[in-house]
Symmetry: C2
Subunit: 323 residues, 2 copies
């Protein structure tokens, strides 16, 4: 009898501790937040000089800090995603915005998309040549047009109407990418940037921005501006941003499949992500980041490296390249 009471009290205590722990993940009754970002999957050598590694760590830390601060102060996951990606777009070390790769013809064509998990609204632009921050134009497409995706000149005419900053195509010429283009380096797929976030109100958002595949043919559209292929967000399941060999991500409907496997097959986020990256996609094709409606997150890749960071309301703050 005494042992029964002891077990009962123990169970009660365990329950109470768990309850405290759950409350501890947010403030004043709010739910917690989670933000995950990536700076591209690729084949970065572990022997990369410290100067280069440290520059990436510094940039990813600064980007993650911007997003964490917005979510910490109760901002929306949409603002967090856009501002984090704006920072990475302005940073020449990533293949998005300023640091966009060269096409086969020596120009730059950028793609981006953004999606709101609350109502599946989304916006995307493909093949823009004069937009400083494509993710912000994608947000305008979502919020200020009846359409989802604009390509090429039409996208830029829409930008002119909405006050989005235009630049000359030369703005995107960087020495780093010129060198890679001249070497016709196919191996280095690093660079597409993406961000997924769950805010305190339970809304999931994602954004992805890229200069595309180095040396791509002019007009080629990859998976980054394609909702369902390279990007997806749904409050009933998860938010996903992919990076890698776009054509494979389109054919395998990678981003939406994470959501479908969770909704239709009752897989956990981790299970769905591991299945897509390791069982459905061929080796060395890329990676993705994801966060689900319960705040679980995943960052998985089948390349050597994926630049990434994660921060949450429990105090986690991590930047990684390998492992």
């Amino acid at each position: 009898m005494r042992s029964t009471i002891l077990i009962f009290v123990s169970l009660l205590l365990i329950g109470l501790i768990q309850f405290i722990d759950i409350k501890g993940t947010g403030e004043s009754g709010d739910k917690g937040y989670v933000i995950v970002l990536h700076g591209g999957a690729g084949e970065m050598n572990r022997n990369t000089p410290d100067s280069i590694k440290n520059a990436y760590y510094k940039s990813l830390t600064e980007a993650l800090t911007i997003g964490k601060k917005i979510l910490e102060e109760g901002g929306t996951s949409m603002d967090a995603v856009e501002k984090v990606i704006n920072y990475l777009e302005d940073n020449p070390d990533f293949n998005s915005g300023k640091g966009a790769v060269f096409t086969a013809e020596g120009t730059h064509e950028l793609d981006a998309s953004i999606m709101n998990g609350r109502d599946l609204s989304c916006g995307a632009v493909a093949g823009v040549k004069h937009i400083k921050n494509p993710i912000s134009l994608a947000r305008m497409v979502m919020e200020k047009s009846p359409h989802v995706l604009f390509a090429g000149e039409g996208a830029e005419r829409f930008a002119e109407k909405t006050g989005i900053e235009l630049v000359s195509n030369d703005y995107f010429h960087t020495q780093q990418q010129l060198k890679k283009w001249e070497e016709r380096s196919k191996k280095d797929k690093n660079g597409t940037v993406g961000c997924v976030a769950l805010d305190k109100t339970g809304n999931l958002k994602e954004g992805t921005s890229t200069g595309g595949m180095s040396g791509k043919m002019s007009g080629r559209v990859g998976d980054s501006p394609l909702v369902n292929a390279g990007t997806y967000a749904n409050n009933n399941s998860c938010a996903v941003s992919c990076t890698g060999w776009g054509e494979l991500f389109i054919r395998n409907t990678v981003a939406y499949n994470i959501s479908a496997l969770m909704e239709y097959k009752n897989m956990s986020l981790q299970e769905a992500v591991k299945y897509m990256i390791h069982n459905r996609l061929p080796e060395s094709s890329g990676g993705l980041i994801a966060v689900d409606k319960n705040g679980n997150y995943a960052a998985e890749f089948n390349t050597t490296s994926m630049l990434r960071g994660i921060a949450d309301s429990k105090g986690k703050f991590e930047i990684k390249i390998w492992e």
Copy 2:
């Protein structure tokens, strides 16, 4: 004992009859074929004059006959899909190729895609202005480029290299579409064309071609050139071609969802199609055609009408607008 023998003989006979029946669906050991096409979902009134109705019946019959003949003679579902759509693209009564709608700016921008269910290879073009038969360019993208989707001028430069016929944008000016554009008719969504087919070797293919939404903003890309949204084919499940309000089909991943519901939830083709059209999409948003790996087919819509036809190796040959 006598009754046991009787049952055994009966079972043998039933088995033999079934075997004969199966053999009867194809020729010399081949499996049967199925082809389904659509000429767009919309709000065509049942009181439409006979002259207009009969013109549609005639065109759809001619298109279906082209595809049936190719499959009958053992041709591939890829050739059947391309040639059926070529016919509809050249016919000014459909919103694809020659009969493409006008954009808000009074020009024409066409989209098309094609997908091979055997290996998930696919090709698509978006926003092309000078391609007589966009579906044939989409096939070239699939077969002759390392990419999946080309937009705008890049797509046309690729066309020049592959010998695909280019025309002036004026080629697409038709009196029918000019009248609709001048009336700013939003109600008539009829016109996108699509075709799905299962050939005698068991391969599933689909193709979709469109002038897009009447009065769309220049640069707008709908669901037709987006694999997963408006089009999908996979030999493990089905081939799908959608028609309707593209933005809703993108957000709801309609084409791929038919496949996912079959693969992950064990739904039949009919169940998956009905669920997406009547439970996931809002009323009056459009329709789709689909055929599965076993030769089952579906044609479902939540608008008033959908121009469509179906033919198979068992002798079925049907053209419908309503019901």
